[in-house]
């Protein structure tokens, strides 16, 4: 009998079944449930409606609530949603709450979960956000769910799952300078289409992964949902362990797929020849080489989100922006408060990232999801008037960043920074060395 993939092993271990195989429907126990200000209130509403006003969450220490979407806005409904979360946290005795307007406020949920040591390899995370798959970078089975499912997890600690098939990607070769995880994942999505991995899990391994840091692994797993995947996953290794140790998490990294596991498919991808990629409007799979888009004028550059607003993303942007000026409005949104603080301490070429960005003429906004998903009209960086924008975010469907007639190109921090300097889409290879 064939062995199990990493994802199948995690699901089997949480389902009370010795073994599972793709297509089986099983009930699993959750290790962690994450929700935020946009989906939390609706989840709480369903919990109360279905179970009653007396409803209790199954384990208050396994619920993490991270307001991040609509934070710095005057929108009254958004403020009311934050109050709903506060009331619930108090009533249920939930400790892991990163409340807006307090010292604990963090920002984008997926980056917060990793940064604050909530994630352990081999665990199951459900989150009311499609990019919950980001946590796969640390070896979890992590997937996005809706309000009803989240309310069900709150009530029972369990959820039904269809065991996904695993698509395995063995990443080989050596990426050129200025070619990043974002370029790799965009090129994969471009090849597979936005439903190329529907209902499946995408597992990444190989020498490129072995050398890749956690931030870049997070970028890779983050965008698996843009290929329709249920989850993305990378087996934990020494890099994972070092990252976790830095956050006070002692975790074993013993979990991995069986050598004789069966995969839906196994693809060897050589990244050596890969060039910087851009996803053109209005779909993340409308991908071309950045140089093919050369010369397209942009009105705005945006560096932020769970995909492209980590400290490592700003380091990349600053390698290009150091000593240069932006030609168009450039909005920077650190994913979390921690990233915002690090902008003032991390340096490139002897100057802090914050100083480089400011000297280049970019604007830095407060940490949150901000314009990644448009949001209320007063949101920092939102495209309110049909602008053309190149962005380090993850989606460019019509109207995603604001006005329905705006156009969004997705790219790496290098490509966005290079385009900011030129005011036009630019291959960052031009700024090498």
């Amino acid at each position: 009998m064939a062995g199990m993939t990493l994802t199948e092993k995690i699901i089997a271990g949480h389902s009370g079944n010795g073994r599972v195989s793709p297509g089986m429907t099983v009930w699993v126990t959750a290790d962690l449930l994450m929700t935020h200000d946009v989906c939390g209130p609706g989840t709480i509403g369903i919990l109360k409606k279905e179970i009653g006003e007396h409803a209790r969450v199954w384990d208050p220490d396994r619920v993490v609530i991270i307001p991040d979407h609509f934070i710095f806005t005057g929108d009254a409904d958004a403020r009311r949603n934050l109050d709903t979360l506060r009331g619930f946290v108090k009533e249920q005795g939930i400790r892991h709450f990163y409340d807006a307007g307090t010292d604990r406020y963090s920002g984008v949920c997926h980056v917060t979960l990793a940064e604050r040591g909530h994630l352990r390899p081999g665990e199951i995370l459900f989150g009311t956000d499609s990019h919950t798959c980001t946590a796969g970078a640390l070896g979890l089975f992590a997937t996005g769910i809706g309000n009803t499912d989240a309310a069900f997890v709150m009530a029972t600690g369990k959820l039904w799952l269809r065991v996904p098939e695993t698509m395995r990607f063995v990443l080989e070769g050596t990426a050129r300078p200025r070619v990043t995880a974002k370029d790799i994942v965009l090129s994969l999505i471009g090849g597979m289409g936005v439903d190329g991995a529907a209902y499946r899990t995408m597992e990444f391994c190989g020498p490129v992964i072995d050398r890749m840091g956690i931030a870049e692994r997070m970028t890779l797993c983050n965008m698996t949902v843009e290929a329709g995947a249920k989850s993305g996953i990378i087996a934990a290794d020494g890099t994972t362990q070092a990252f976790l140790k830095g956050r006070g998490v002692a975790a074993s990294v013993a979990v991995g797929g069986d050598p004789d596991a069966r995969y839906h498919s196994e693809r060897r991808v050589d990244v050596t020849a890969l060039k910087p990629q851009v996803a053109c409007p209005h779909s993340p799979d409308n991908v071309r080489d950045a140089e093919e888009c050369r010369g397209i004028k942009v009105d705005r550059c945006y560096i932020g989100s769970c995909t492209g607003g980590k400290i490592e993303d700003f380091v990349m942007a600053c390698e290009i922006l150091d000593g240069r000026r932006v030609a168009v409005e450039t909005c920077c949104v650190p994913a979390t408060a921690q990233v915002a603080r690090e902008l003032q301490t991390r340096t490139v070429g002897g100057r802090t990232l914050g100083a480089i960005l400011t000297a280049a003429g970019a604007t830095i906004g407060p940490p949150s999801c901000a314009a990644c998903l448009g949001g209320p009209p007063d949101t920092f960086g939102r495209l309110n008037r049909g602008e053309v924008c190149i962005s380090t975010t993850n989606r460019n469907f019509p109207g995603r960043m604001g006005a329905p007639d705006s156009k969004v190109f997705l790219a790496s921090p290098y490509t966005v920074a290079a385009s900011a300097v030129e005011g036009r889409i630019t291959d960052p290879g031009r700024f090498s060395g």
């Binding site: 209130p41 929108d75 409904d77 009311t128 499609s130 439903d195 329709g228 009209p377 329905p404």
Partner: protein, 189 residues
């Protein structure tokens, strides 16, 4: 769940994402307050680009912004319907507008789960792409028992896929009802 639904059809293309179904700027409206929730009906599919709103001609808004209701109770769509974010506001908005079923070539998985587990409407899969042989406004009968969708206007019938394991949750009317029937959550008091 009813066995047969006779209704006018609204036609959409491939990869209709949740930002098109309900744009993010509206997401702070309450899902719990009945009057506020009803407003979602008028906003359903308001992010679809005009030329694609109601194929083949476009420019046909899905719902009436004054009544917040839609004259169309069945959506026929292409592949990967509901891709993008996990927001349950998307099926809620469609249901509030009066939608009773979607028939698409395929779905993005979170939308599919949300429609089923929330008990909003059945997300059904067609055996072939139907967007070419339905026009917005055509009258159709969806026969859930026979797993078929018939275009009355054009007198054509097509087969639907069986929903598999999810069918039991659809028939129960949602995840909580399904689980209550099996003693997995406590009975409603």
């Amino acid at each position: 769940m009813e066995q047969a639904i006779t209704a006018r059809v609204y036609v959409l293309g491939d990869d209709v994402d949740t930002d098109q179904i309900i744009p993010a700027r509206h997401l702070a409206i309450s899902l719990d307050d009945a009057a506020e929730r009803a407003r979602y009906g008028g906003l359903a599919l308001s992010g679809v680009p005009l030329e694609k709103a109601g194929l083949p001609g476009g420019n046909r808004p899905f719902s009436d912004t004054i009544s917040s209701r839609s004259p169309y109770a069945i959506i026929v769509a292409g592949k990967n319907f509901g891709c993008g974010s996990s927001r349950e506001h998307a099926p809620v908005a469609l249901a509030e507008a009066g939608l009773r079923a979607v028939v698409a070539r395929s779905y993005a998985r979170i939308f599919y789960r949300n429609a089923i587990d929330g008990g909003y409407f059945p997300p059904l899969e067609s055996e072939e792409d139907l967007t070419g042989w339905f026009a917005t406004g055509d009258e159709a009968v969806l026969d859930l028992g026979a797993a078929a969708l018939r275009n009355i206007t054009k007198n054509r019938e097509c087969a639907l896929r069986e929903p598999g394991a999810a069918g039991e949750i659809i028939r129960a009317g949602g995840l909580f009802e399904y689980a209550r029937g099996r003693g997995l959550v406590e009975k409603r008091r």
